[in-house]
């Protein structure tokens, strides 16, 4: 193995690219969970976003329209979950699983004609002068717009949750839905909106995979990214800035193992490929081991059913 083949600058830029889908999905799911809803369907919404974005981009010839379509597609699918859990009061765990199973099937169905096609080219943002800076240039100023959008979303989410009444209401609903209801907040409506935001974010993350990162459509291409996004939310203790850290950490492991494979590391490919999943488990264990001492940071109403009795 020749480690010198791994260029640190290239590695960092590729980490940002590999992490972006995770970041989109995780920040969306974090908002959903802040509102007290556990949606295990992230994987399903991501893959539907991946194919919706891909198909719409191919048909319209525009990557931007593709991303918009992916966000809408993810939101629509999440609304199915939202209606099931918030209106029909279904248990959130199986409903989320159903979303994932259905999304995988639906995406494969829609995606059949699109296998092997190349999507329209996306442009990277090239800030003159700045992008020519050594080291910092490629890392900070030579990405596609979606990378910046994902970073902006994290910042915006942080700001909304910390400094606005909207954020306060989302947290209140997730913390104690009975109390929020008693104060006159529309718990179901707020949760549905949060769920749709999460769906749109997951859709964007999926489309980033199929339109920019790979870029191609293959069945089941999310390969567990949605589940890793769920793990990132736990890792982040429901805090936006830590979601960023978590997404880049998990993405970093993914990028690193890909580089190692490319560099011809002396480890069988299968063991490198399984490493992100094993690392996820290890991180989850570390987090939960630490938390069992200090109590959990999870929203208190997370995953609980709300039915206004009057």
């Amino acid at each position: 193995m020749d480690l010198s083949q791994i260029d640190p600058i290239l590695l960092i830029t590729s980490i940002m690219v590999v992490s972006t889908p995770l970041l989109f999905a995780a920040i969306g799911e974090m908002v959903v969970e802040k509102a007290g809803v556990l949606n295990l369907g992230v994987e399903g919404m991501m893959i539907v976003g991946a194919i919706a974005g891909f198909a719409i981009a191919v048909e319209s010839g525009s990557v931007i329209i593709g991303f918009v379509g992916a966000a809408v597609g993810g939101a629509i699918l999440s609304l199915v979950f939202g209606i099931l859990t918030q209106v029909f009061l279904a248990n959130q765990v199986p409903a989320g699983l159903a979303l994932t199973l259905f999304g995988l099937g639906l995406s494969a169905l829609i995606g059949q004609p699109y296998a092997g096609i190349r999507p329209p080219q996306s442009t990277t943002l090239d800030v003159p002068l700045l992008s020519d800076l050594p080291v910092l240039g490629p890392i900070l100023f030579q990405h596609d717009a979606m990378v910046y959008l994902s970073l902006f979303l994290v910042t915006a989410t942080w700001w909304v949750l910390k400094h606005t009444k909207t954020g306060l209401i989302i947290k209140a609903v997730g913390e104690n839905h009975e109390a929020a209801h008693a104060l006159g907040y529309k718990v179901v409506k707020i949760r549905l909106l949060a769920i749709m935001f999460g769906g749109a974010c997951a859709g964007l993350g999926g489309a980033y995979l199929s339109l920019i990162r790979v870029p191609q459509w293959t069945e089941g291409m999310t390969a567990g990214a949605g589940w890793i996004a769920l793990a990132i939310v736990v890792f982040a203790s429901w805090r936006p800035e830590r979601v960023l850290l978590g997404a880049y950490l998990f993405g970093g492991i993914g990028a690193l193992q890909l580089r190692l494979q490319a560099a011809g590391a002396n480890i069988p490919v299968e063991y490198l490929s399984m490493s992100p999943y094993i690392v996820t488990i290890v991180v989850l264990v570390l987090i939960s081991a630490r938390k069992s001492n200090a109590g959990t940071a999870a929203p208190a109403s997370l995953g609980k059913m709300f039915h206004a009795t009057n």
Partner: protein, 360 residues
């Protein structure tokens, strides 16, 4: 305006009705989906639900139903125990793979010996493989409180990579001209799981599934452990008050579901599948989740649900070859079934009332 009103107690009638209603609604929605795909909806529905049992070539398809239903039922029975207790093992697919690898590994270790105990030993190894894989989330949950949903799911991906590693490596058929995949058990009698009654599809896995259904029924309805499982799922605090030890229960439920999934994997690899290969697993572990819920987590319900789901698999195959219906359509169809079921579930616990516009 429609309003929901909680019933004083769950309705038994609706609890039996909802799965049937969900199936009907799925047929309607599925028909619409097939129409959108440009297929004749009624013909598609008939091909999926009728032809495998009563069609021209049903002599070929009927056994297929049992072959597919066996692993689904076996896995779903195990999962239902945990689901009832609020323990979410969604990594049965991984436990299924590990059961197959362990069982096949033991069988292949004896190749080409012809000893009576090889197959029973493989069965034990299969169960053990599933248990070991399920003990990882169990141990992490009981020791550290780690979420079992994510851990068991992550382990599916790990198991898939192990499967691919052994297909290329440790278990590769030395006489296979370098192709990935193990020796075929159908050509190694002492280690194979053959059809017991010719033309029925019945093999040891199916029989084990039937036994598991009866065993689970007795456990849940006649034994204190089954009572504790139900109690833990419905009222965890009351369960602790009743003296249930949560960690023991988690270990039992995950262990049992791992064992059954591992067995399903072993029977599959030694029987219908025949060999360990990269694409040996076909999603039974995930479909079994739908089966468990469709059967309302009740053993006999799961038996029926498993047969129905197997029917959609077999019917889907026919529709694929006869009508050109994509394989993925069946997967989407199954997902839809779970949606409708969960949505309808509300009717067992709530009464829907038409409320007149309020005069204020």
């Amino acid at each position: 305006m429609l309003t929901l009103e909680k019933r004083a107690q769950p309705s038994r009638a609706w609890s039996l009705m909802t799965p049937i209603l969900a199936v009907v609604l799925t047929m309607i929605a599925g028909g619409i989906m097939f129409a959108l795909l440009g297929k004749a909806p009624l013909e598609a529905i008939r091909t999926i639900f009728w032809d495998p049992i009563f069609g021209e070539f049903s002599f070929y398809y009927r056994p297929q139903i049992l072959i597919k239903a066996g692993p689904l039922i076996l896995i779903a029975i195990g999962l239902s125990l945990g689901f009832r207790a609020g323990i979410w093992n969604i990594g049965a697919e991984g436990q299924y793979i590990m059961g197959a690898i362990f069982g096949a590994g033991v069988g292949l270790a004896f190749y080409p010996a012809d000893l009576w105990f090889i197959f029973p030993l493989m069965v034990l190894a299969g169960a053990l493989g599933g248990i070991l894989w399920a003990m990882i989330p169990a141990l992490l949950k009981t020791k550290f409180g780690t979420n079992e949903i994510l851990v068991s799911l992550m382990l599916v991906y790990v198991a898939e990579h192990i499967l691919s590693a052994v297909s290329f490596g440790a278990l590769r058929n030395p006489d296979g001209h370098g192709f990935p995949g193990s020796r075929n058990f159908q050509q190694y009698e002492a280690a194979s799981n053959p059809e017991i009654i010719a033309g029925s599809g019945m093999h040891w896995g199916v029989i084990t599934a039937f036994i598991a259904v009866i065993g689970a029924y007795i456990l849940l309805n006649r034994h204190i452990l089954g009572y504790q499982i139900r109690l833990t799922g419905q009222a965890p605090r009351a369960a602790r008050f009743a003296g249930v030890r949560p960690n023991l229960l988690i270990t039992f439920c995950l262990g049992a579901s791992g064992a059954l999934a591992g067995l399903a994997g072993l029977f599959e690899v030694a029987g219908p599948a025949g060999q360990i290969s990269i694409d040996f697993n076909s999603g039974y572990g995930f479909t079994a989740i739908i089966v468990a819920f469709l059967g309302r987590l009740h053993p006999f319900g799961i038996l029926l649900a498993g047969l129905l789901m197997a029917l959609t698999y077999v019917g889907g195959d026919i529709a694929q070859s006869n009508l050109g219906l994509p394989a993925a359509a069946i997967q989407a169809f199954q997902g839809m079934l779970l949606f409708f079921l969960l949505g309808m579930d509300m009717l067992t616990n709530f009464r829907v009332r038409l409320k007149q516009a309020e005069a204020v």
